[in-house]
């Protein structure tokens, strides 16, 4: 490589004339940095959500009455178990508990601690719980956000729920949910199903929904048909539908940014066009000299093309590395609020580094194509400088 005369000369020129290019590199780095930060963030969130979702049950069924969700009878569990291919059927109480004084809501999930869980994350979690101690008094597991919130309101070791009957129920905080699942579990409270039933005021033998798995995904459509045959008033939520909804959501957020970016990119192109028209007009003499000593138009175009390619690649690498550090090391201060805004408890998410080749390719194209296109015409203009220029 070092032996190639053209590359030697190219690096020489770039190095000696770096002041010419610094402006373009700076703008490029900023643009790439913002762009990649947003895309890294959205793909990391998407990844965390999907991997959390992956661990949940394949189906959730609830009873529906007059188009409105109603309490589901536990008796359905046995009927669902009767369908071939269904495993891990678990009744669940699931709902938001509104904490009126601060206008905040917790997500309360009541499960049967003695059942085998179809949610793999819960399964793993419950393994570490000392059930004897847990059941010695009313206890619950809380998410990081809930714990912080309660602590701030002087509920250190327990919290008192208000039941629909008007009585109070004091529940002990047993432990905090592990941190890595924060995106979903932040405002979650997990407690035994009986306790949840009391807090939400559900009748005996009633739950909000039932979850189960169907390991063979080719059977999914059949299972749905069978469920509808079994119950006339059932609503079935598939995991794959939820997955698609999540994917769409983050696609949207990333996509909206890109649309905004289109405006920036067009401005960027105009600036580049202007800037390089100017830079190159100062180079006319130099190019004339090169042409006079035997460089062809093609050689000059090649030189300019490589010059710009080097600038593009250098700014790309710097921008992407900076964005990586910002998102995955510094946890994206400021930007993360835009993406996580709307959750009612303060959330502190650690982003899982996910950098897919496709994202890098997209960022590169999104920036490199307009860049190179914008300098192409100015570069041609200077490349056809008549060599006579050198005689003047």
């Amino acid at each position: 490589m070092r032996n190639n005369a053209f590359l030697h000369f190219l690096t020489l020129l770039l190095f000696k004339q770096k002041s010419k290019h610094i402006g373009a590199v700076l703008i490029s780095v900023i643009i790439i940095f913002l762009l990649s930060a947003v895309l890294f963030l959205s793909s990391s969130l998407q990844y965390s959500l999907l991997s959390a979702l992956q661990k949940q049950g394949d189906f959730v069924v609830t009873r529906i009455q007059a188009g409105k969700p109603a309490n589901t009878p536990v008796a359905w569990v046995d009927q669902i178990l009767g369908i071939n291919g269904v495993t891990h059927v678990a009744p669940r109480i699931y709902g938001r508990y509104f904490f009126a004084p601060r206008e905040n809501a917790f997500l309360v999930v009541g499960i049967d601690f003695f059942d085998e869980q179809n949610n793999q994350a819960l399964q793993r979690l419950l393994k570490d719980v000392d059930l004897k101690r847990f059941f010695s008094k009313d206890s619950m597991l809380v998410g990081e956000g809930v714990r912080k919130f309660l602590e701030a309101h002087y509920f250190k070791n327990d919290f008192t729920f208000k039941t629909p009957k008007g009585t109070f129920k004091k529940v002990n905080i047993y432990q905090t949910l592990p941190k890595q699942a924060n995106l979903i579990d932040n405002d979650m409270i997990i407690m035994p199903i009986e306790l949840a039933r009391e807090i939400f005021g559900l009748g005996e033998g009633e739950v909000t929904d039932i979850t189960f798995n169907v390991p063979n995904d080719a059977e999914w459509d059949n299972i749905i048909t069978k469920l509808h045959l079994l119950f006339y008033d059932v609503r079935v939520i598939e995991k794959r539908e939820v997955k698609k909804a999540y994917e769409n959501l983050y696609n949207y957020k990333g996509g909206l940014f890109l649309i905004l970016y289109l405006v920036t990119i067009v401005t960027f192109m105009l600036i580049l066009y202007q800037r390089y028209s100017m830079v190159y007009s100062t180079e006319r003499k130099e190019i004339g000299i090169l042409r006079a000593v035997g460089w062809s138009i093609k050689d000059i175009l090649k030189l300019k093309f490589y010059e710009n390619l080097v600038i593009v690649i250098i700014s790309f690498i710097i921008g992407v590395v900076l964005a990586y550090l910002y998102v995955f090391v510094l946890n994206a201060p400021l930007l993360s609020h835009i993406f996580l805004g709307g959750s009612n408890l303060a959330n502190h998410v650690t982003f899982v580094p996910v950098v897919k080749f496709g994202i890098l390719g997209s960022i590169f194209l999104f920036y490199a194509v307009p860049f190179l296109a914008a300098v192409l015409i100015p570069a041609w203009k200077v490349a056809v400088t008549p060599p006579k220029e050198a005689m003047l």
Partner: protein
């Protein structure tokens, strides 16, 4: 073909036939810089084009160097018709056959002497090692080796010119064109330039010098002095 080149190759280096050059043709500012020029230069000759500035010497030189194209007429150099060449061929011609020494030296100021000298060979396909060897040889010939790694900005006029000479010679061209080479030099440096010219002549190169410097009058190795006025050749006399 107006000339059987095969028979003359090696003998006649440059032939110009009925060359006209009109600037801004077809506009009110049209200006006829060259009028029906006919000239031939043999291989190994040193020719001086003399005349006041504006007489068309530089224009003629730029046409021979294929830096510009004539409005009509034919130019043949080393057996090749160069008056109407596509860019790729014109530049190959410039890169292989000729070396030009410009009045204002035309160096890339931000680069060092050596880096300037290698410029014509960057696209030659040679590797850097070969190019360095050629550059050393050329800089030695032009007596500038001692400043090889110095930036051109810091050089004196004479040194700049020797750098330009080294650049013009690196690819060992057959034909060397000099445009007012001593216009920006003091007397001592001008004499030194003439010395280098003499050694080029002794190496068997064909040299054409456009100048109005009286120093070039009566030089022993100059074979022909062509005097130009108002875009025409008024007198072409052989020194012998």
């Amino acid at each position: 073909m107006f000339l059987n080149t095969n028979g003359y190759k090696g003998w006649i280096m440059v032939v110009l036939k009925n060359i006209n050059k009109i600037y801004n043709e077809g506009t009110p500012q049209a200006f006829e810089a060259l009028k029906s020029i006919n000239l031939s230069v043999s291989h190994g000759e040193t020719v001086v084009l003399s005349g006041v500035s504006g007489s068309g010497k530089s224009t003629l030189l730029s046409l021979i160097a294929a830096l510009d194209k004539p409005s009509n007429g034919k130019i043949m150099v080393n057996g090749e018709l160069i008056s109407k060449l596509p860019d790729l061929h014109a530049s190959t011609y410039r890169a292989k056959t000729i070396g030009v020494i410009f009045q204002h030296f035309n160096l890339l100021e931000s680069l060092s002497v050596e880096e300037n000298v290698i410029v014509p060979l960057i696209n030659s396909g040679f590797d850097m090692q070969t190019i360095k060897v050629l550059a050393d040889k050329s800089m030695e010939l032009s007596a500038i080796s001692h400043k090889a790694s110095q930036e051109v900005k810091a050089l004196s006029g004479g040194e700049k010119q020797r750098c330009a000479i080294a650049r013009a010679l690196i690819h060992e061209p057959e034909l060397i064109l000099c445009d007012e080479p001593t216009a920006n030099l003091d007397r001592a440096n001008s004499l030194k330039f003439i010395e280098i010219l003499q050694s080029l002549h002794n190496m068997g190169k064909t040299v054409i010098v456009a100048t109005h410097d009286p120093l070039f009058e009566g030089l022993s190795f100059v074979r022909k002095v062509v005097h130009m006025e108002d875009g025409t050749i008024v007198e072409a006399k052989d020194s012998e």
